[in-house]
Symmetry: C2
Subunit: 267 residues, 2 copies
Amino acid sequence: MSAPSLVPAGASPHAIRLACRSGAFAGLTSGIAAGYVQGNIVILPRDWADDFLRFCQRNPKPCPLIAVGDPGDPAFEELGLDLDIRTDLPAYRIYDHGKLVAEVPDIIAHWRKDFVAFVIGCSYSFEEALGAAGLGIRHVECGSIVPMYRTNLACRPAGRLSGKMVVSMRPFTPAHAIRAIEITSCFAAVHGAPVHLGAPEAIGIADLSAPAFGDPVPLRPGEIPVFWACGYTPQTVIEHAAPPLAITHAPGRLLVTDLLNARLGAT
Amino acid sequence: MSAPSLVPAGASPHAIRLACRSGAFAGLTSGIAAGYVQGNIVILPRDWADDFLRFCQRNPKPCPLIAVGDPGDPAFEELGLDLDIRTDLPAYRIYDHGKLVAEVPDIIAHWRKDFVAFVIGCSYSFEEALGAAGLGIRHVECGSIVPMYRTNLACRPAGRLSGKMVVSMRPFTPAHAIRAIEITSCFAAVHGAPVHLGAPEAIGIADLSAPAFGDPVPLRPGEIPVFWACGYTPQTVIEHAAPPLAITHAPGRLLVTDLLNARLGAT
């Protein structure tokens, strides 16, 4: 299920962003710009952005904030050379009162002076570290999208924003689960250690074979499911709160930054 | 099940060692000298010590070596002021060809110029960190000795020494298990992260209610058993290998050092 990529395998993050900007690239960002941090994007009008910033601060596992922009400013100097958040992603989704109304290649025409952009860490960063440690990641092996589930784990509310945590699941043997916990606990900027392992029903998941988002993956004998807080959480929370306007990245089409994944992992 | 303690609650490690030396204290060392590293002791003749040193190097989780003495030298300057390994533990056990033949208050009369003493990390150090993080430790709550089990996990052999790993078990909720893994992974000098969690039968444990050593503890609904490599492993390996002579600490009566537990935890 790899997307047709119009960027060379070794393209720099800057080259990828420019390809997004020109319209030459609109594909999935998994598997490109190896070694570099990718980010989920949420853009909100200022009066909602304040709530969201507090929501992220109170829920660092599902909403690990890598950067927040100044109102009206589309640049993120600390994240990348010449970065323009309005054009440098492969595709964007626009929500009107919580309803998806459009998927667009850039948001130049929609940008407003009161928009605040948030860049939120993504599991690609820690999956790279898990792979480097020799742990097989099932959905990568299957060439599918990580299975994600709604849970009964409540996020800490902030203003008009509240909701339950969405989690992603990766199956491991117990020994590999322990190693995965050790590794991901060093990646607080990208969801950190898991929030649960073992019995899915303990966090309100009725059926592992029916994820709310993504694709199911098989568990092999002796494996246990390990659950990480997922960057899909803020998106579902915002859809539920239904602000007049919100913009996010399109699924699987993230912001590629100049930051190195290795910089995120405390050692 | 707390032992009668003849040392004041706030006694320094040095004062405790002197009380052991004079015979004033021969009790359990759990719960005394809070904050300080305690060590399991193994003493072997030099020709066996070489095998054992390699065994520890190859099996750092069950045998985390804190210090090894010079042949014939009972001092450990790096571990404590004025420390004498022959007198400064509450009690010792002597094994003749793998058979326990005596429990004695000191080993002055047994000491030889070819003896090499090993000090091995103990779970007291990481249990203190778990408690400080707000995790309840079941056997401490029960006032009993941690349950320990023989497993089918093979240690890497070294010379005449080989055998299966012994593990200790602490039950936790999944969320607390994850936190416990994060914390103990920083304590490589005292067994480090767990070696297994969940299904006991996967590592050859048939019945959690029948530990090989220590006392069983109850698991509450939703809890999973979490298994750490245990300092009882070297003792069982040595008993099995049956060297002509071996000396260990008596169960629960460890060497109290001047090292701070906090120094062991990488952060």
